[in-house]
Every structure is written in C-alpha cells, then in structure tokens.
Amino acid sequence: MQNRFGFKDLILTVLLVLLIAVVLLGMKQLDRQWSALQTLQDQGKEQTRLLASISRTLDDMSSNGIAVSRGPTTQSAQSGVAPGHDPYFADLKEAEAKPDFARGDYLIDNLQTKIGGTLTPYITRDLYGIWVLEKIFDFLLTQDPNTFDYIPALARSFQVSSDGLAFTFQLRRGVRFSDGEPMTADDVVFSYELMMNPKIKAPGIRSYFEKFKGVEKTGDYEVVFHLKEPYYNTLNVFSNLYIIPKHFYSKYGEEEINQNPGLVMGTGPYKLRDPTSWRPGQKIELVRNEMYWGEAPAFDKIIFNEVMEEAAQETMFRNGELDVYRCPVPTYARLIKDPSISSRSTGYAIESFLNGYYFIAWNQKQGGKSSIFTDKRVRTALTMMTDRDGICQQVYQGYAKPVHGPFWNGSPQEAPGLKPLPYDPQAARKLLAEVGFEDRDGSGVLKNEDGTPLRFRLLYGTGSEFTQRIVLFIKDNFAKAGVIMEPDPQQWSVLQQRADHRDFEALFMGWGGGDVEADPYQEFDSSQIADAGDNFCSYSNPKLDQLIREARISLDKDRRMKMWQECDRILAEDQPYTFLLSRDETRFIDNRIHNVHRTKAELNLVDTWPNPIPWYVPKPMQKYTQP
C-alpha cells in the first residue's frame, strides 16, 4: 500500500496551519497590548515629572504679566506687554470670560494628505505640516486676524530702527520648552543660524531671509536682527522663524536633522507626546504642553487625521468623527442644503487673501520672438471675452469671486474707484478689429490679413478637476467670440519646466496667498524675466518697475499704499495677466465648538498663523475625555 497523501492528511495539514496562524495572531495581540501598557506607563512617569515642575512654572508665570520687584534686571516699562493686558491672548481671555467656557475635549481635524515627509521644523515645507507646527511652536510675533497689527508673541516687545535695518526684540521671560528648559536669546540665535545653514534642507524658508545680514544677541533676553537693505514686509518674515531649543537640536548633526522626520520640540501650547519618535504614517496627536508659558487653550488634544479620499472624509464628518471638515465646493454646495449636516454644524464660505488667485499669463516673448500677446489691446480683449462671473457661478457655484489685480478684494493696495473690465465680447471684438483680427470670411473665426486665425494653446496643470472645467469654460467663451483656444494639459513637473523656459503661449496657473500686503515684484518686475524668474510673460513696464522698487523699501505705510494703488492702475491698464478669480475656502465646523467667528483673515483660528486658539467646547457638550 503506498503512502498516499489522502484527504485526511489534507485536513490535518490545514488544521495545523490554522493552529499556527492562531498562535501567531495571539502573540501579536499580546504584543500590542504590551505596547499599549508601555505607553500608559510612560505617560504615568511623565505626569509625575510634570507635577514636580508645575510649581516652578507657577513661579515663573507670575513674573510675566505682573510687575514684581525682584531686582533691576526684571522687566521695565517698554512698549509691548502692559501688565494685565496681553494682546496675544486677548481673544482667548475674552472666550474665558464667557459663562459656558470650559477646558477639555479634543479637536479633531484632518490634513487632506498623508504627511509623507517630515515634521521637523524648517525642513518641512508641506503646507499641512505647517498647520501642525503652528500649534507646537511659537514665533517672535504674530498678526491680529482683524486689524493685521503685529502682536508680540514670544517677544514681549520690539522696536524697528528708523532706517528699517535693525529689528530689536525683547523676549518674554519664563518661557519654557516642552521639556521644561527655559528659552533665552541663545535659542533665538540658534534658530536663525540653523535655518541659514546651507547644509540644512530649508531652501524655501531661507529665501525669505535673503535680505538679512545676521542676528546679534544683546542680552540674555534680547536680540537684534540686522538687514542688508530695508524691506517693507520684514516683520512678516519673522513668522517663518520657528524658535527652537538649542539644547535639543544641537545634539543632532545636520544630516540627521534633514533626515529625521520627527524632531519636534517647541514652546507652543501643544506638543507631540514624544519629541523624537514621530514617523510618517503615525497618527499626529498633539497633547497639551503642561510647560506652556501662556494662557492654556481649551482643548486637551488636537488630533490630525490624514484622510485623503473625499468620500471617506465626508463619511467621517457625518459620523461625527471629524470636527473641521474642509470640503471642495461641490460638496459644500450639496451639504449646505442637507438638514442632517446643517443641524449639527455650521458652514463657512470664507473669502480671504490667504486663498490666492488664479490667472492666465499671456506670454509676450516665446522662443525669443514677440507673440501676438505683445499688443496690450489683444490682452485686454481676451480679458473682456472671459466671463469671470460665469466661472464663479457655474464652476464654483458662487463660491469664488472675480479678481482684477494681484491685490485681494478689499485690500488697501487696490486703487480706489478702479472699474474692472466688464465681460463684453462685442467690445472685445471691436478692440481686436483695431489690431487686425476680424471675421473676414463669415467662418466665425477671427483672422488677420494673412488669414491666420487667432489661435493659441493654453497650458495648464493636470490633477484638478476644477482646472479642467475652468479651461473648458474659457474655451467655450472664446469659441463664442471667435478665438480658438486649445487646451494643453501638462503634468506639473513639465509645466514648471516650460514656464521657466517661457515655452508656452498662454499659461493658466495660480499664486498662493499669504501676505496681507502683497509684493508684486516677483511676478511683474522686469528684472524677473531673466534667469527663469517668475515674470513668465516677459512683461516689462519701467514705470511699474520704479514704483514697485520704491514701495518695497519705503517704511511709510501711507506713501507705500499710494504707490501700490498706482501699480494696481498700471496693471489694470496693461493686463499682463488676465486675473481670474479667488475661490472661497469652504468648510464645516461642528456646532459643539463655540466661539468660532469670521475675521478678515479667515476664521478666528487661522491654520497658518500661530495665534492662540480661542475656541472651546462647553462642558455639557464635550465628547472626548482624557483616558
């Protein structure tokens, strides 16, 4: 009888395999439970340490806002923080005064991408990474979201020299990093020098400081920054200088700082539980920083999910698993009518300078030769053929506004009384007829004397359904008026290359916002045409150049505004771009979160600004508690 592999043997083998599988899985479960236990133990240890140092914190905090006679080196009367009124915490204090104010609960947010890179400050240039870091780090100053005044944050006060070349900051005392070590001027100097170190992978941020000469420590709690030349917006630049602890980061070499994705320790109101161990793919959970030098915000934790898929985000929000839902416009338009959503959350469609604007750039010089777009009348006509309101209504369902220049709608930089070009295809055709483009043969296409039709390709980036819809909308606009526009989609890396080489006819793109007072130098100054600068369309107007350059170094705000307004007029006249629109930022916020209101910037919590969080959840509505 042969030793055959019979059916019984098969069953036994399968059972054996299953048994092994169960044992392995059981081991894995134990392992997870073990690591959970470990985390709890670590937490316990941390709590004990913190309890011991809270008394220290209390002592130090008292020296901040109240005059204490301890010695001649303590605070004296300088501009900045008046005892009892700290503008940095004004919003939060106002919230605290409300009867239902309570601390506790978590804020669940969503970054719409997976942070594939790093959270280490300066190294990360991921927009979403910045949202996270704004809660963990503080800066020397910040801006009020309504008045746009500069408010000292980590600085107690600051002075600007009259020639705009020296910025002096007096630092607060008693500020501690999340491990308890105090912040001093050494840390500020270290932060600056780390960033300026060319070996550190922070080229983007470094570029903002190109006008800086260096920093000087003039006291344990005072630093002076020296500039090479004055620039009107220098104070804004300081919002990029994360103040990081010297004692922590100096332990690591440059390459390690570049590579390690999780070196995060700051002075902010929140922190990562472990300042060294975060890796991409791990949950981003910010816990309260017990060492925080200032007024503690309401939320115990801020949790950032990393869900990319739209459908999944919507499901999360419906299930109440998401507090701040940033949705695309069509979703917003749909959900705002949905009673199950509008009963438990509030929708915000926010028009803000932070949202940037879209435009079409008309290339005036391609391959060394002048193009049809060199003539201002052609550009003006094309603008008049574009139904910008139509795009806002039909593509964005009303959640976008047309723009007519590089300055945001309502900005003091806008020229008062300047009428935007209307949507008038008839007038556009008349203008083109002056240039020589007419419908000579009844074909519906505008042609010049040689019979060449007015035809061009519009280069745009793939990946966004909105972009394609806008391009097709504009194509139909132009078709109606007799101009042939061919969509030329290109993937981003190629598009950037072509833009840099001026290898396009017309380009559809957008600039991100961010500055309260925008600087049009990079895009419109003629010096930026060469060297793959950002003046893609080879636009040059000497009068504009002169105005921009003068305004940039002018420290007199009123005088500057007049110059910006003149720039606005010139750009409206010249139409180097067809400025299209600025879309609204649409989001829903769960109603249990109180004290949310609009500001001129965005909401009173701006993702990219490090202001203290003035939101809270009243006690009866709190959903999440500390474990």
Binding site: L25, G26, K28, Q29, R32, Q33, T113, K114, G116, G117, T118, R125, L127, K201, P203, G204, I205, R206, S207, Y208, E210, Q259, P261, P280, G281, K283, N305, V307, M308, E309, A311, A312, T315, M316, R318, E321, G356, G461, T462, G463, S464, Q491, W492, S493, V494, L495, Q496, Q497, R498, G510, W511, G512, G514, Q522, E523, Q528, A532, G533, D534
Partner: protein, 360 residues
C-alpha cells in the same frame, strides 16, 4: 541544474541593465526634469520659495549634470557590486566591492526609498498572497466542473461567464463597487478606502464582545477593508486558471490509466478527484510563479482606486509625477521579481515533471 541556475541568473543582469537604461532614458529625455515632482501639485508656492527649493534640490540630486553621468552615478549606487565608501560592505577597506544597494531618495517626499518600500511592500504582499488561495480555489472548482460537464450548458455557460468576468475592466468594477457597496446612499457594507479604520489604533486585536456589542478588532477590521480590493484583484484571473484546469484535467482524463480506473468500476467522482486531478495539477503549479507579477501590475490600479498605501499606489504616483528615483527603483524591483518568478516557474516545472531536465 546548478549551471543552468547560474546561467539564468547571469542572463538576468543584461536584462536588468536594459530595463534601467530604458526607464532612465525615458525620464531623462523628457522635458520635465525635476520641476513639480519636487513641489507637488498642491503647492502654490511663493515665487522666491520655489526658486530656492528648485535650486537646492537640483544641486543635491545632481540634475545639472549630463544624462549619462547621472545614470552612471545612479548605477553605482544601486548596484550591489560597485563603488562604495571604505568601511562599507565587503571587502571592508576597498573602494569597490559588494554593498547593500542604496536606492536613493524619493523626489516627491524626500524620504529614503527603502523606507517607503518597507512601508508599502507588506500591504501589497498581503493583498497578493491572500488573493492567490482565493483565485486557485475558485478556478479549480469551476475548472473541474467545466471538465466534468464538458460541452454541456454548464461548461459553455461557465466558460462564457468567466470570459465575461475577465473582460470587466478593473476601473469600472472598482468604481461601481465603491459607489454601490460602500456608499451610505446605497449599501454601506464595506469601507470605501484605506487599510484601517480611523479608530483602529484603539481597537483590540481580536474581535470581541464589548460593552457596545460586537467589536470588530484590528484583525477583522483589516480583513474587512481588504475584501473589496481582493475581489477586484482576483476576479480577472479566474478565467485563465479555470481554463487551464479544465484543459489539463481533460487531457489527463484521456490517458490510459484513467480508462483503467473507470474499467475497474470506480465511481466517476473518485476517478476525477482521487486519480486524475492530482496528476493534472502540474500546469497549475508551474503557472503560480508567473502569476505574481501580473497581480502586482493589477494592484497599481486597485490600490489607487481603493486608497491602499501599497507598492502599486507608490508606482502609480511615481509614474504620474515622474519621480525619477522612485520610478527607477520600483521598475528595477518589478523586473527582478518578474525574472525570479519566471526562474522559479521553470525550476518548479523541472522538479515537478521528471521528463523535463535542465541538466546539460
């Protein structure tokens, strides 16, 4: 046999080189260069930032150099035998020797590619290895059925149905499944996206009955997330394997020993399952190894649709964003896997079929 193996492995090298050259050429000769793969489509950066970042990475990744120089540098890094730092690899003190290949850094996320791979490979492998038993089970069952009722309605019907399944585009089925089976408006039977639920970290590992009723547990939750992608990945392969089973079984059934078995008076069921089937397994076994690369290719679309962070999605994003380093690394790995699987298939064939021998 050994000489055959060595010969095959040596022959892999020119093919791998060829693959890398072709891929490098396509990406390098393209107009894109670095550009947006560094910056990503979502970044509307400020102009000065963009310039600085571009300049930095152009220098760092050596993009300004001529194409062949870049290729040779890459080759030197990636090859396990090549220039290395003293102290690395074997022999320790030499400048040339064996070393661990350095796949480089992804241009999109600026992280070492080996890290990205170690995160994504397990997911794809999980998908592949769980789909194999499913495919085989269903194919064998249907194949046997088709062979048994040869020519009749069941055979023809099954055959046509399987061809139909094979013809269904993955993109269509994936979208339909997500739309109808994961949607609150229709049937919300499955999760639509990702590998884990949001709350999965807090879940216990095994399913249990907690205070809120049945709790899925991490294991079951992952399995639940994998059901739809698994179905989408496997349904296309049933047709081929089923037909193979059917054909092989039919061939075996025509052999003498089967006639003997039938003449002995054995039941048809015994004849098929106890005798014929085992002998017809040969082609199925040998085809296994060549299946894996096919599934990996299919995973590219499936992972993109279902949002699974596996190698397929990595591949797709590398291709769309022209992330050169990542693309080269993945193409190379794919080619290596392909050729190893062919080799394994040939070896399996040699072992399984005594008539085939590679001894010269």
């Amino acid at each position: 046999m050994l000489s055959y193996l060595i010969r095959r492995i040596l022959l892999m090298i020119p093919t791998l080189l060829g693959v890398s050259i072709v891929t490098f050429a396509i990406v390098a000769l393209s107009p894109g260069g670095l550009g947006g793969s560094l910056l990503g489509p979502n970044s509307q950066l400020r102009p000065e930032e963009r310039k600085a970042i571009m300049a930095y990475y152009t220098a760092r990744y050596g993009i300004g150099q001529p194409v062949y120089v870049q290729y040779l540098r890459w080759l030197g890094r990636v090859s396990p035998l090549g220039p290395k730092a003293a102290g690395e690899g074997w022999p320790g003190s030499w400048k040339i020797g064996f070393k661990i290949p350095d796949l480089g850094e992804s241009w999109q996320v600026h992280r070492p590619i080996s890290d990205l791979l170690s995160e994504s490979l397990p997911i794809t492998l999980l998908l592949e290895f769980t789909s194999l038993p499913v495919i085989y089970l269903i194919s064998i069952v249907t194949g046997i059925q088709a062979a048994r009722s040869r020519g009749k309605v069941v055979d023809v019907g099954l055959g046509t149905f399987l061809i139909g399944l094979y013809s269904m585009p993955e993109i269509w089925i994936g979208v339909l499944m997500i739309g109808f089976l994961t949607n609150k408006e229709y049937l919300h039977w499955f999760p639509s996206n990702g590998l884990h639920d949001i709350t999965s970290d807090a879940m216990p590992f095994m399913p249990s009955f907690g205070p809120h009723g049945f709790e899925r547990g991490w294991l079951l939750d992952t399995a639940w997330h994998l059901v739809l992608p698994l179905i989408c990945l496997s349904y296309g392969s049933f047709a081929y394997l089923s037909r193979l089973t059917r054909g092989s079984l039919l061939e075996t059934l025509g052999l003498d020993f089967v006639r003997t078995a039938r003449a002995k008076g054995l039941m048809e069921k015994t004849v098929i399952y106890a005798h014929a089937f085992r002998n017809s397994l040969l082609p199925l076994i040998t085809v296994t190894a060549s299946f894996l690369p096919g599934i990996l290719a299919g995973a590219v679309i499936i992972e993109t649709i279902f949002g699974l962070p596996g190698m397929g999605q990595l591949f797709a994003s590398a291709a769309i964003n022209t992330d050169r380093e990542l693309l080269l690394a993945l193409t190379l790995i794919f080619a290596v896997l392909l050729m190893i699987s062919f080799l394994l298939a040939d070896i399996a064939y040699a072992i399984a079929d005594p008539r085939v021998s590679y001894v010269d």
